[in-house]
Symmetry: C2
Subunit: 299 residues, 2 copies
């Protein structure tokens, strides 16, 4: 059986219902519902914009160029979703009732490669040119119970603002990335460098959009985390560096005050030695608090 | 100057206004307005869908695959716009006040290559395996004045339902395509074959969407036209073959009754000889009536 047949002579007032009806025999009710919602709002947008044929052609060209910019290490559609506030909106919707849990924020376009598995305490900085930074914390359940054997996936830009995949000629693959497992007390720790604020990639269609709209491309300095633990909803989040520029105008609308952390400088030889670090270092701490799994969020 | 800074801690209720505000310094007021409309409706769709993170990731993957399917002769985003009823909606909006003029319909995804310039009366069928078809007509202004030296761009699928670019191994480039100039009386004529109904390309993401939604991929048999003339709004349209299947359920919502034409079979040796055709042929006729140019439509 095929979807209800659209008739001929559809016009502005009948096209939307006819298109929605054409999806009426979709076996998956969730897909059917999402397509109905998409068609309704997309048509409403078109009706309000009244694009010329030339404008619509340019929109198609923009989407095509965005697709062509995507490859194994670049996700321009995620970037587009980010700068349009959609990624942040989806995150907010999915973490609506998470009081007590760590606030979520966007995944971003740089989680394209697998983080290398590393031992607790290892460094994710494989270059070693900047002052070290120690990051420590715990994965906890909402009631404060430490979650042993939780997984903590970490990725970040380096002190110059680049992810490994952006400078494959200079940065070893996996630089700034690590996959850790918490210890018996739910603790994790790794050394790294304090990341820099950076511009999102501006050499593609999304960069052209920001240029055409007088928007700056910068994100405040941050480290990405995904924490997962059995029986809990995972959280995708960042910690932001407290004194970073652009905390008030993040290009992707992702800053949450609760995720801003002081990266405290520690100039104490004994402390450095205790962590196997040579000389002064910065220290940041975050506890990643997960909600027990409920329905769809745990999928 | 950059757009108004979004603050931190944006939530479901504040994100949309913050995103719209971020585009507030866009120099081009049309772009600024379109982005505001886009963000408003896109966010409304997301709010109503409440996609899980996994669902949003799948949407991004779908858009990426759609972009990757586009190349020099394939336009999967146009196809997506077509099956979502958007192309037809944009056409309708742009030809709202065209009473008297030929009704417009969608461009479709196969107008990717330039049509070869041909003499009036020439054949656009370079294969010659099917019974010929003669297409005649005039380009007229809305008041009935013939438009000499008007341009008529024609493209169509062959008797098996394929455009040249779909079967580059079998069909010569330019097969089924022609760019004609009307004579002193605004007339055009060419020979061809009666096109077949055909499925839109189903081997890409749009085909997967139709499959997942139990929609058939067929379009009724048609010939595409773009007529342009000095001082007039161009028209992009089709003629549909009167007895074709799928006239009532076109996969791209493009059928207009006023564009359906009898392809009359003429079995008359004298008539065939008069048109330089060997044996019986089909004959279809359409006058392409253009409105005098007004404002944005002539751009």
């Amino acid at each position: 059986m095929t979807g209800s047949a659209p008739s001929a002579d559809l016009d502005e007032t009948t096209l939307t219902d006819a298109t929605i009806a054409s999806f009426g025999d979709t076996p998956d009710p969730r897909l059917r519902n999402c397509l109905s919602i998409l068609v309704k709002h997309l048509h409403a947008a078109i009706r309000e914009m009244e694009p010329t044929l030339d404008e619509w052609e340019r929109a198609v060209e923009f989407l095509t160029a965005t697709g062509h910019t995507c490859d194994d290490t670049r996700q321009e559609f995620v970037l587009l979703s980010d700068v349009l506030g959609v990624s942040s909106l989806v995150e907010n919707i999915n973490h609506r009732k998470s009081s007590g849990a760590t606030e979520a924020t966007v995944l971003g376009p740089f989680h394209m490669t697998e983080s290398p598995r590393r031992e607790l305490g290892a460094s994710i900085d494989e270059v070693g040119k900047a002052e070290p930074c120690l990051v420590t914390g715990r994965v906890l359940s909402a009631d404060g119970t430490p979650l042993a054997r939780a997984s903590v996936d970490v990725w970040q830009a380096d002190e110059d603002g680049f992810y490994d995949v952006q400078r494959p000629d200079v940065l070893p693959p996996g630089n700034g990335r690590g996959l850790f497992t918490t210890d018996d007390e739910g603790r994790f720790r790794f050394s790294t460098v304090v990341p820099s604020h950076y511009p999102i990639p501006t050499d593609g269609p999304v960069g052209q959009l920001l240029l055409a709209t007088n928007r700056h491309p910068y994100r405040p300095a941050h480290i990405h985390f995904i924490a997962t633990a059995d029986g809990h909803s995972p959280v995708t989040t960042h910690i932001f560096v407290a004194d970073s520029p652009y905390l008030e105008s993040d290009a992707v609308f992702a800053v949450k005050s609760s995720l801003i952390r002081e990266f405290q400088r520690i100039d104490d030889a004994e402390e450095s030695a205790r962590h196997g670090l040579a000389g002064p270092f910065a220290h940041a701490e975050i506890d990643l608090v997960l909600e027990p799994a409920r329905g769809r969020e745990s999928a």
